[in-house]
């Protein structure tokens, strides 16, 4: 059965915020996340006829946004930057809850591959097989990243429940 490709407006409306949250969790700066996601959508729009026919247009946009963000030399400073700038950048909103600040800070302390695996697994709802496919590594490697990432997060955040597995 033939299915029409999604329109740019549909994909934008459905996924902009979700992608921004994922990038925010990884890089720790919501404004920065929003900017790179917008740029990724602009690049998708410029070649939408092609991108819209991919099996996973959103995956393409996510990858572009991710690449844009990691190419910035300052990635290591984003969590600090977020904490410092939050009141002045968006002063009309309430500050984040302490738990969320702690979560972002704990994520920022993880090695990049563990952080990425956790974000894709928990925020993008990807199963281990898909995370492995996206990262170009074996499933066992992703399981190891998730295990280590969860353990480090548990220590950082003083989580008390027993160690669980991936979904």
């Amino acid at each position: 059965m033939h299915r029409d490709p999604p329109t740019f407006d549909e994909v934008y409306a459905a996924h902009f915020a979700d992608l921004t949250v994922q990038l925010f969790a990884y890089f720790g700066d919501r404004q920065e996340a929003q900017d790179v996601v917008q740029e990724a959508f602009c690049r998708a729009l410029a070649r939408w006829r092609k991108v819209s026919r991919y099996d996973d247009p959103v995956g393409w946009i996510r990858r572009v946004a991710w690449n844009l963000a990691v190419s910035r030399w300052r990635r290591a400073r984003t969590a600090i930057g977020f904490l410092r700038r939050q009141p002045t950048v968006e002063p009309w909103a309430d500050g984040p809850e302490p738990d969320r600040v702690a979560l972002i800070a704990a994520l920022a302390g993880l090695p990049g591959n563990q952080r990425r695996a956790l974000v894709l697994h928990y925020l993008a709802d990807m199963p281990v097989t898909e995370v492995a496919h996206r990262c170009g590594v074996a499933e066992g490697t992703v399981k190891s990243w998730l295990h280590r990432g969860r353990a480090a997060m548990a220590t950082q955040l003083n989580l008390t429940e027993p160690l669980g597995g991936e979904r």
């Binding site: 949250v21 925010f24 030399w73 700038r85 950048v89």
Partner: protein, 324 residues
């Protein structure tokens, strides 16, 4: 623990989603349209003059005598040098796109609004040189542990337009510097060009002194990306906000009541407005208008402007509030 972790991620998502204000599909279309119709403006850089004057530039790499070449640095060491280089030119990449610092050869294309700029650049590292090509002209930086910052003028000329022009910055360390140094540069718009954008935005919202006017704002969007005003005369009542943005990027405005006990902060905006900054011919920027009502108990009203990274250092904004 997984449940706890899942819950934390779910909370992060549910708390963050409502705070995200997408610039919108129209902003994306505007960006793509501009890129497809780039103007071929005249771009000149003043690098050659400064090369001739020898202001801070070293001897070209191929003329230097070779010294024993140390091992290349680790990524962390290069990142540390990049941070030092960034600090030397005043680059805070958290706040602007008009500069970069990196520990190896790189190139970046900037879309610059018409105007006069100063490009500050430096190479931090033990030895070697780096060629920095800006808009076709090349400067050779001498790398050292404590280098002086080299500043060169750059003119992106298109007198009757705000315009956007691609300017390529290409950084190439020589064989000695590659992997052992970091180059940073920062492009800053000159004060005259900043005034041009600010004035164009002010002109777009009309003459000052309009009947019922209660507050105005006219500003150049600096690298920190925001501006705003707190007006204690704006109590409860009905108002109209007229705003314009000229230059690059996207502007969002939030209006709200000052949070009790937290001066300068808004609890919940009563109104928001978003717009793309106009980069068309001078005098053609169209103002946006929005009405809002300040509720009972308002003691002071805040009009807060915020931009995306693209606008920072490249946009002028003007806002007028009148009573309805």
């Amino acid at each position: 623990m997984t449940d706890q972790l899942e819950r934390l991620f779910a909370d992060l998502r549910s708390e963050t989603m409502p705070r995200i204000v997408p610039p919108g599909v129209e902003a994306a279309r505007g960006t793509v349209r501009r890129r497809r119709h780039r103007r071929t403006a005249v771009v000149t850089a003043g690098l050659a003059v400064l090369v001739a004057a020898g202001l801070g530039f070293g001897v070209p790499a191929h003329l230097t005598t070779s010294a024993p070449t140390p091992a290349t640095l680790t990524n962390d060491e290069r990142d540390a040098l990049a941070a030092q280089a960034a600090e030397r030119v005043g680059l805070t990449p958290d706040e602007t796109l008009l500069g970069h610092s990196f520990g190896q050869a790189f190139h970046v294309t900037h879309q610059l609004v018409t105007g006069d700029y100063l490009v500050k650049m430096v190479c931090v590292g033990a030895q070697g040189h780096a060629d920095v090509r800006v808009a076709g002209s090349v400067a050779t930086l001498t790398c050292s542990a404590t280098p002086a910052v080299v500043s060169v003028p750059l003119s992106v000329a298109e007198p009757d337009l705000v315009g956007r022009t691609d300017v390529l910055v290409d950084v190439r360390p020589d064989a000695v510097a590659e992997g052992r140094t970091a180059v940073a540069y920062l492009i800053e718009m000159g004060p005259g060009s900043q005034d041009r954008l600010r004035t164009a935005a002010t002109d777009a919202i009309g003459t000052a002194g309009t009947a019922g006017e209660v507050s105005t704002l006219s500003d150049f969007i600096a690298s920190s990306g925001g501006s705003g005003l707190t007006d204690a005369t704006m109590g409860p009542g009905n108002y109209r906000l007229i705003a314009a943005c000229v230059g690059a990027g996207y502007l969002t405005i939030a209006v709200g009541r000052e949070e009790p006990g937290n001066p300068g902060f808004i609890t919940e905006p009563v109104q928001t407005l978003g717009m793309s900054c106009s980069d068309g011919p001078l005098g053609t920027a169209t103002p946006e208008t929005v009405d809002f009502t300040m509720p009972k108990g308002t003691k002071a009203t805040i009009v807060d402007t915020n931009t995306n990274l693209e606008a920072r250092g490249q946009a002028g904004v003007a806002v007028r509030v009148v009573r309805r």
